[in-house]
């Protein structure tokens, strides 16, 4: 898998410090699971976080905090962390997606299918998968918020290049897209779409009935 398009440094730094909202973080994590280069960069930003931690001022801890923590450590045997449920552990999807419940594929018009991903979101960001047949052409559209995409299979092209398996498309409202799905396998991707859906966005109009923003 040759990955060409990666998340920005800002996005990887925010992911490493745990300040991205869950919806966007899932798409970034899916890319990371496919991209050793960005995994290494994430680790480097954690090293930055560690260096900032080393340099942080000291707050006053409660009286006896260390002793109490040591007592807790000695009192309870090591517990294995409870295994979190993985509804899709058998799937071929990137590991981070295994934690979420997926809806059924539903045709939403033309040759495009939609599948909800049950990611809770504090902000108005929704996560879903799309599957589009080769040759599908989406009319030119503008984003009303960010639209982050990680491609799993197949490929699409728009004016910023070709996006194949593993590629990450970090689109914001300044981009104007005219994506076309390449010949070959259907294009399957994971999308985190921000904002209340505006009717001028075709993608938004297509998915609106399914995500009820």
């Amino acid at each position: 898998m040759t990955i060409i398009h990666h998340p920005s440094a800002a996005t990887l730094a925010a992911f490493a410090s745990g300040t991205l909202d869950e919806a966007r973080a899932v798409v970034v994590a899916s890319h990371l699971a496919l991209c050793p280069q960005c995994q290494a960069e994430r680790a480097r930003f954690e090293t930055v976080g560690g260096a900032l931690l080393d340099a942080a001022p000291s707050a006053v801890m409660n009286e006896g905090a260390m002793e109490r923590t040591l007592q807790r450590a000695l009192a309870t045997p090591d517990r294995a962390a409870p295994a979190s449920t993985r509804p899709n552990a058998e799937s071929r999807l990137p590991a981070p997606l295994e934690h979420y419940t997926l809806g059924n594929w539903r045709r939403i018009g033309g040759a495009v299918e939609f599948r909800a991903v049950d990611v809770p979101s504090d902000e108005a960001v929704r996560v879903f998968m799309l599957r589009a047949a080769p040759g599908t052409r989406l009319p030119r559209h503008r984003h009303t918020g960010t639209e982050w995409t990680c491609v799993f299979e197949g490929a699409f092209r728009h004016d910023l290049g070709r996006f194949g398996p593993g590629d990450f498309d970090e689109a914001d409202e300044s981009h104007e897209h005219n994506p076309v799905v390449e010949d070959g396998p259907s294009c399957i991707c994971l999308v985190a779409l921000e904002g209340s859906i505006k009717l001028q966005s075709l993608l938004g109009r297509l998915v609106q009935p399914f995500i009820r923003i």
């Binding site: 730094a13 925010a14 745990g18 994430r42 560690g50 000291s58 801890m61 905090a65 260390m66 981070p96």
Partner: protein, 199 residues
Amino acid sequence: MRGEMKASEGGDALAANPAAEAAQWVVAVAQRGDRVAFACLFDFYAPRLKSMLMRMGVSGEIAEDIAQDTLLAVWRKAALYDPERAAASAWIYAIARNLRIDRLRRDQRAKLFAIYETLETQDEPERPDGSLDTAQDEARVRTALSALPEEQVRVVQLSFFEGRAHGDIAKLLDLPLGTVKSRIRLAMNRLRDLLGEMT
């Protein structure tokens, strides 16, 4: 940031670079349940974790809990720490991040903490031949941070590591929003270049 670092040093030579000692402390906890080493880790990291969390907007009480729980997890997971793979500070930072996300989640369906664990248990890619080891990585990160102008370190810290909105940062630093945005962009590009030289 560096101004604050000086303030927190208070003559404590460890504050300059506790990285080497911290890794040894974690290993001592793993190998022999070394309580003195644990006390050293606690004394250095718990107060810093607490202040870092409070800067992210976590209440003092919950920050105290998360700081204690982080050190408890350090004790329990010490055997999983690999000094070849990560600086101790980065490892502890990541544990605290995961505990914060878990503790502060409002929705029981939230799985973000589990996602971080999934990524961490994935096989790490092999380091290409001739690449730097962890200690050198660590030194390079510190060098990169000190090579950035202080005002840029500050916006990187506020924006990514504290997760503040740009408007919030503008208010805090008393700068126009445009200046904040361009400074963040400049700082990230520079930091990425500096860190990129590590590979």
